[in-house]
């Protein structure tokens, strides 16, 4: 118990560090209790680097894979919509999520005609690796994000059909799993300036992510006809979408202590509104000492 008394708790990283004098030379990871070390490994990089600053040279870390520029542009736009210039989450945003992850497919696999479904010329297998999603990040919504390339005229209307199927891993083929369950739906929409199409696949992926599946194999065929199909049936208006693999967007609620819980802080603020210190009133201190309703003060 004595050693526990001297344990230093570090609120910022939520870690308990062993007594300082006995462990400062050890490798920081060795210093942590086993269970915490596992949690530590899954800490978001920002908190890891804040905890590790001075113990690990982040420069020497393995080079990061660079994300797709379109994906980056989309996430920067999402950031601007969700946070102020100072980086503070916008109060008027009533969204439940406090984490959004965007994954680009890490491998593609084209099917040979033999086992394609009839008429499905552009089917592409996509593998998304979701290892970065932690156990405390709970899925709220998942979207397949398609971006139109710039050559498409703006405010055109499209009718698209999408064949989506999730694959189970077929051990006979290392990369290309077999089909398990499929869904097909069609969309009709108009492309605006932003040239993004979000396809909500939440109900489709929820059971997979809830069972901690971290490798998601999907076969996606997304074919669009420009204009309204009733009016023109010419095939040459089809836009070959499958060549541009979609990104996968996950809206998550992180329940860890380090994450911002919008509803908690609103409740906290409502419980004890803070009265700012009034400098311009010469009697502020006196009023403060007498006027503030502090139950402890009253009891004392």
């Amino acid at each position: 118990p004595h050693s526990r008394d001297r344990v230093v708790s570090d609120k910022l990283s939520g870690l308990l560090v062993a007594p300082e004098d006995a462990t400062s030379e050890l490798n920081p990871l060795l210093r942590l209790p086993k269970a915490v070390r596992r949690g530590y490994a899954l800490l978001p990089p920002l908190l890891k680097v804040l905890s590790d600053q001075g113990h690990q040279n982040w420069e020497s870390e393995a080079p990061r894979l660079q994300p797709d520029s379109r994906a980056l542009r989309y996430m920067k736009r999402l950031y601007k919509m969700s946070a102020t210039k100072e980086g503070i989450p916008k109060a008027n945003r009533s969204h439940l999520y406090n984490t959004v992850r965007l994954f680009t497919p890490c491998s593609e696999c084209k099917h040979s005609h033999r086992d394609l479904m009839k008429g499905d010329l552009h089917s592409v297998d996509l593998l998304f690796n979701l290892d970065r999603v932690t156990a405390l990040e709970h899925l709220l919504k998942s979207v397949l994000l398609y971006s139109f390339d710039t050559s498409i005229p703006t405010s055109s209307s499209f009718t698209c059909t999408c064949h989506l199927s999730v694959k189970e891993h077929d051990f006979s083929s290392q990369v290309c799993p077999s089909v398990s369950h499929t869904v097909a739906f069609s969309l009709h929409f108009e492309v605006r300036k932003r040239k993004w199409v979000e396809i909500d696949v939440t109900s489709f992926l929820q059971p997979l992510i809830a069972t901690n599946r971290r490798n998601i194999h999907m076969a996606v065929n997304f074919t669009c006809l420009m204009g309204d199909p009733q009016h023109n049936t010419k095939q040459d208006n089809s836009i070959n979408m499958a060549l541009v693999p979609p990104s996968l967007l996950l809206y998550l609620n992180d329940t860890s202590e380090q994450a911002y819980h919008r509803w908690n802080s609103l409740r906290r603020r409502r419980k004890n509104p803070v009265r700012p210190r009034r400098r311009n009133s010469p009697f502020a201190d006196i009023a403060d000492d007498k006027g503030r309703e502090n139950p402890q003060g009253k009891r004392a």
Binding site: K11, P44, P45, L46, L47, V49, W58, E59, E61, A62, R64, L65, Q66, P67, A71, L72, M75, K76, L78, Y79, S82, A83, K85, E86, G87, I88, P89, N98, T99, V100, R101, L102, F103, T104, C106, N129, D131, R132, D254, E257, Q258, A259, Y260, H261, R262, S265, V274, R277, R279, P282, D285, D288, D289, R292, N294, Q296, G297, A300
Partner: protein
Amino acid sequence: SRRRRDENLKEAPATPPYNLSEYFKQFLFPQNECELHSFRLSFSQLKWDKWIIAPHRYSPQYCKGDCPRVVGHRYGSPVHTMVQNIIYEKLDSSVPKPSCVPAEYSPLSVLTIEPDGSIVYKEYEDMIATKCTCR
């Protein structure tokens, strides 16, 4: 306090009349007391801008200053703060005086690139100090 103020008026140095309010303030509000100080950094200074995409600048702020002997309720300090002051003054000076620390924070939204190339937007709790207290 009025008599003391009158005496001070008589002894007041020859300050030009236009900063009288500043002159009064030094008697009403002690200087160097616990207060929030602004501090702004950019992630490029820490060489983190390779993987922290937004925000470019971050203002964590910090608290600094003396804690008055009798803290009272000005800082929303619990009664324990005054007890600790008494312990320091009368019983054991190795017990530190109450410190000026953050009492409230606001969150920060951060956009980062993960090692596997995925992109994550996350809202972190308690990243910007907004209010100080003595305890």
